[in-house]
């Protein structure tokens, strides 16, 4: 089975995508999401560009802080008409540091949407197991939102959300809403917990093997640090999941986002155009390891 999600060269060909010239956008929301992580919302300035910017969960964009540079960010909120583009920004490098110093009303550049996205059509009618590690939860949020918006199209949803510390859990304000959705379970775990912590302690793999989610008619979606993805896939295999049931989204530094600059190759694949979403059955056949 292949990814089922199109190699995005096809999408790139069908769209008059401008990959040098970013569209201008304005920051309309900036709020703390977790320690050193902010949620940034950008609205494209040009109404036509705003209307045309339609994307799937799992796609990403290149965000420019002019004068500083451009970096890829996964879209952290599902598409909705005139809904703006949301990003979870972790202050770890030059561009993210510059983004932190911007204010509401400041302009940034946006190129995209880029990459292939999760093949949501393949998940319809199935139970969905979501495994998010740290800021890796961000590109999974559009999946969660999409499922809840079309609740009847999907089966049970089980969300496993992990972080090193409670302060690094993202989208905490939304957990109550998520848990209130029909047929939805959420488990939270952290590596290190303070006194009074009421959720789980330990790695996401331990939690996964403890709750033993049912395998039949289930798909899994995972994002997190490479090492977490690696071990989560091993745990899933142990639980009886076939690689074809598991979907991951991978990360790399990217300069162009359109398969030219050579930065994000994994063997003969480019994470930017062949991914970032891959079925694990593909990933484990890759010549070069993502870890």
């Amino acid at each position: 089975m292949t990814s089922g999600s199109k190699n995005s060269y096809e999408t790139l060909a069908s769209k008059d995508l401008d990959f040098i010239l970013p569209a201008l956008g304005t920051i309309t929301l900036m709020q703390d999401l977790a320690d050193n992580i902010k949620l940034v919302r950008v609205e494209l300035d040009d109404p036509a560009a705003r209307k045309n910017f339609v994307f799937e969960p799992g796609q990403f964009t290149e965000v420019s802080v002019f004068g500083v540079g451009e970096s890829p960010f996964g879209l952290a909120g599902a598409w909705q008409p005139e809904g703006g583009l949301e990003f979870a920004v972790n202050r770890v490098g030059t561009v993210t540091d510059a983004l932190f110093r911007l204010d509401l009303g400041d302009q940034v550049g946006i190129r995209g949407p880029l990459g292939n996205g999760f093949p949501m059509h393949l998940y319809r009618g199935k139970d969905v197991l979501v495994l998010g590690g740290g800021i890796g939860g961000a590109p999974l949020r559009p999946i969660i939102q999409t499922i809840f918006k079309n609740r009847k199209d999907y089966g049970k949803v089980t969300i496993l959300w992990a972080a090193r510390t409670p302060g690094l859990l993202v989208f905490t304000e939304e957990y109550d809403d998520w848990c209130a959705q029909p047929d939805t379970l959420m488990h939270i775990t952290v590596d290190q917990a303070p006194d009074g912590w009421t959720h789980e302690v330990g790695l996401i793999t331990t939690l996964l093997e403890k709750i033993k989610p049912p395998v039949e008619n289930t798909v899994t979606v995972t994002c997190g640090p490479p090492i977490m993805i690696k071990f989560a896939m091993m745990s899933l295999e142990k639980l009886g999941f076939a690689p074809e049931q598991n979907w991951v989204t991978l990360e790399a530094k990217m300069k162009c986002g359109i398969g030219k600059c050579g930065r994000c190759n994994l063997g003969e694949k480019f994470i930017c155009v062949d991914g970032p979403v891959f079925c694990f059955s593909e990933v484990r056949e890759f010549l070069e390891s993502f870890v």
Partner: protein, 338 residues
């Protein structure tokens, strides 16, 4: 057969430089590099290969791709279409590298307009090689000392001047007004190198990915990246913004694209510090797999033209011809065992 004398060549350069940027091999502090000239005597006409490839004129080392003016509003302007360039003294191998890079920048959507603009405005006048020099192996990777591929005109040195072959419409335009003679000419044949290694196909390369050879090979590599710097088919690039001017209320930046290379230690490092290609072994392996497996799988041609520049610049003697030969040997050995 068409013939031009050295004198006509000089006049040709002079006429062309009135309507285009004329570029030719120039001796720059002992290195032969393609530079703009105004008259033929600035150029070196007797050279083996240039130290930097012809790529420098269609995929420059550093160039602005976007101009950013940041005031109350941000104004973005794309780099303009470059003015025409006519390049003299392009070795046939270098011309083939253009065709190889076209497959990536133009052949796969979306088209890289900046690159395409350079290619469209560039006329390449080739100079056939009289021999394959010490590190040359073009014939092992699909080229030839007198290959026409990717050239608009090919000149071959004969007594008193050059035999001239016009290969494209662009070439036709470039000879407009040139005093070309018709002569009976015997084009000299280039001396070829024998015993060159056989390049195995991408599927065969894939079977050696985990071979210990790559570790052994990388023991001497110091990650200096000179190989990629002189490579006509390396195309990895970095993008960064540079401040150009500050005026009251307005800052001007250029977004620059600059050569980069996968052999750099932090090339694949991601935010948070993880680096899937942390060792020299993995980075060096990527360089050769890109050339002989990934590029052919993704874009068609192998990404090597056999110019041998990387062999000449490597301070520790890593030799791409030996690598090709070793891969061939390892595959033979594996076949015998099987």
């Amino acid at each position: 057969m068409k013939f031009i004398s050295y004198k006509t060549r000089d006049q040709w350069v002079k006429n062309l430089s009135a309507k285009a940027r004329v570029v030719a091999p120039v001796d720059s502090k002992g290195k032969i590099i393609y530079k703009q000239i105004n008259s033929a005597d600035e150029a070196v006409w007797n050279f083996e290969k240039t130290d930097l490839p012809a790529k420098t004129w269609y995929f420059p080392m550093t160039e602005p791709i976007l101009y950013i003016e940041q005031g109350k509003q941000t104004k973005l302007t794309e780099a303009p279409v470059p003015s025409p360039v006519v390049m003299f003294g392009v070795r046939p191998c270098d011309a083939r590298s253009g065709l190889i890079l076209d497959e990536l920048f133009i052949g796969k959507p979306p088209i890289d307009r900046q690159y395409a603009n350079h290619r469209e405005t560039l006329t390449m006048i080739g100079l056939a090689c009289s021999e394959m020099w010490e590190t040359c192996f073009c014939t092992a990777v699909g080229g030839a000392p007198d290959s026409h591929d990717g050239l608009d005109i090919l000149l071959t040195e004969v007594e008193g001047g050059y035999a001239l072959e016009v290969l494209t419409e662009k070439g036709n335009k470039a000879i407009d007004g040139v005093a070309i003679e018709e002569k009976d000419l015997k084009i000299p044949e280039a001396t070829l190198r024998e015993g060159l290694p056989v390049v195995r196909n991408s599927k065969e390369w894939s079977t050696l990915f985990n071979d210990l050879y790559w570790k052994e090979l990388s023991n001497s590599c110091i990650s200096c990246r000179a190989c990629a710097f002189v490579c006509p088919t390396c195309r990895c690039y970095d993008v960064r913004d540079e401040l150009v001017t500050i005026k009251p209320g307005v800052k001007n930046y250029e977004r620059l694209r600059a050569w980069d290379t996968c052999t750099m230690a932090g090339y694949r490092r991601i935010a948070g510090g993880h680096n899937p290609r942390e060792t020299t072994e993995k980075r060096l392996r990527n360089r050769f797999y890109c050339k002989f497996m990934y590029y052919p799988e993704d874009f068609g041609p192998i990404a090597c033209i056999g110019c041998g520049r990387c062999i000449e610049v490597c301070p520790v003697g890593i030799n791409i011809q030996e690598i090709i030969a070793q891969v061939d040997h390892l595959l033979d050995t594996a076949a015998v065992k099987a």
